[in-house]
Symmetry: C2
Subunit: 346 residues, 2 copies
């Protein structure tokens, strides 16, 4: 935070999305990045990242300005100048503690300083901003929709094979004068675009982009996870498209309309089904997480659109069953990881 011409950006989560965001922001020259890591901290601290990126080329031993293994605690560490931007690039699992709010709160200023920091939620799903509104009413929150293709193949090693496309806009539920988050969004887009290697765009209707992405994320994500079929095989399996995928997607389209009057393009169902080439046999993130024994990010991807749609009077029978199946599977993962206990066998 020494260079006053640069904005200070705290990125929480240095996996496949956060690491490339850090590379891009530092490359643009308008930001100083502090990156908070968890599982890959030791590797990155010692050896830096090994990155193979279609946008940024091959980088070996790369590190942002600051690497940390804990969330900065503004009060506890006596940090007087709050970060200009705090970007959350972790998964979002409100049913697993600590929640995103618990995690980030120490890095968010309060009182008269609250408006100095802009929080950017670069995560999927609906209503991810809501838990922040009550504890941080004066922090400006932006919505980021990332369409990057990147993966952390092992700790600290990132392969990015599809360009970093990012949509940034204001969350419409923010209780701050809308002009403020809009201006901050534009500032962020300018800063993120400075390196000239990404497509970062200001989106005046980022909620539309979020619902559009849910056509994939609320449907193919859990269906592939639950059936164990990747999104290519699902197109070949007897009856899966007509019995599961299309009904689920149509429920999301109907919910988007009923919840916020949003008309998704009529072709969005078929387009989303065929978004990846069949023969790339891609496994959506929830399927990958299940195979790895990780927790599932199903509450914001599936639960929130379901609850919002039902509250608006939409019948969503397919998503409802998928939701409760995902919830039961999450319980199984919780038991395996020692978060719930069951009595012994009799």
């Amino acid at each position: 935070m020494a260079d006053s011409n640069k904005k200070s950006v705290l990125i929480v989560g240095g996996g496949a999305v956060g690491a490339i965001a850090a590379v891009n922001l530092e490359a643009g020259g308008l930001a100083t990045v502090t990156l908070v890591l968890r599982s890959n901290y030791d590797v990155v601290k010692e050896h830096g990242y090994t990155i193979s990126s279609c946008d940024h080329g091959n980088l070996k031993g790369w590190r942002p300005s600051v690497v940390r293994n804990s969330i900065p605690d503004l009060v506890g560490e006596g940090i007087e100048q709050p970060f200009d931007y705090v970007m959350l690039c972790t998964k979002n699992m409100p049913d697993i503690l600590p929640t995103a709010v618990d995690l980030i709160s120490p890095a968010l200023p309060t009182g008269s300083n609250a408006s100095k920091t802009t929080l950017i939620l670069l995560q999927n799903g609906l209503n991810i901003e809501k838990p922040f509104l009550r504890p941080h009413p004066n922090v400006c929150i932006l919505s980021g929709i990332s369409m990057i293709g990147s993966a952390e193949t092992r700790p600290g090693t990132i392969i990015q094979d599809e360009g970093d496309k990012l949509l940034i806009g204001a969350f419409p539920t923010s209780n701050i004068n809308p002009a403020v988050p809009e201006r901050r969004a534009e500032e962020f887009v300018h800063m993120y675009s400075a390196g000239g290697k990404t497509k970062c765009t200001y989106s005046p209707n980022v909620l539309h982009d979020r619902w559009k992405k849910l056509v994939f994320n609320a449907c193919l994500n859990p269906i592939c996870a639950i059936t164990g079929l990747d999104d290519g095989r699902l197109r070949l399996a007897d009856g899966a498209l007509d019995g599961l995928v299309r009904p689920a997607m149509r429920e999301i389209v109907a919910a988007a309309k009923a919840v916020c009057g949003m008309d998704l393009d009529p072709g969005v169902v078929e387009e989303t089904i065929h978004v990846d080439p069949l023969e790339s046999w891609l496994k959506p993130s929830m399927q990958q997480d299940l195979e790895k024994g990780n927790f599932l990010e199903y509450e914001n991807l599936l639960g929130e659109p379901l609850r919002a749609g039902r509250n608006a009077g939409v019948s969503m029978p397919t998503l409802e069953v998928l939701y409760y199946l995902a919830k039961a599977i999450q319980w199984r993962i919780k038991e395996k990881r020692g978060l719930v206990e069951v009595p012994g066998k009799k």
Copy 2:
């Protein structure tokens, strides 16, 4: 078939259910059993069964009168005297070839001999008799509902820890004078009860028993398989009973009423949920099959009640999603077993 005082019984499938049926029939002294085995043929042929039975005690090296590894071919083998009873004790998977009809047909007499053999389908699910009606219109078909607790822990080793309770009745769709299957059912009950160690009962309304069993089999069976939670854990998992199990079971109750005017007892839902002690952590058969990589018996357990209910105008959204998920999972098992092929990765 030498002893003319004894009935000849062909049992197809010598697993946990068929083996105990064979033991019981031979113990009663009124039947001569020919048992057709597949995966455990070599073991049983050479060493006989090792059986630990709450009804019949410990048996070592036990064999029925005849053990075979192929279905008797009446015509091909020149067998002049058809079996009095042919009992089918295998799983029933009409979507996997050979089907039950393909398998059994060589052992069923045709023409003027057709009425000499009674076919007993000791399998779960709805409409299992239907595929036999057209190719074997004059074979009398009985419905058997088994409530035994037994398992084949390894090939040829059977542990039976819950008594053999069997309900026998005529399939109501049979196109033969109803008095004939009723008389045959009573004859079979007499023969099966002769050893005095089982509760084999004639049921005048066996379709009721079949629908009642579907409250478990169409619901807990696929839900446990898909979530990977046994039927005890499913009762503990967040929201699984109210979100999945109870809605599915209520759909079966409604279908039974609409399809054939059958009033299942109002307590059947809660009674079925708690049928096993929670802490026995029992895995229903479909879950066991999935874990073993076996095909799933979902078409008659889930698909047929679903189709019958929908045709009768019942809304069955929960079972519909469970059905298509089971079908997609079956496709995955088919691929793994080489029954379907997919193009290579690009």
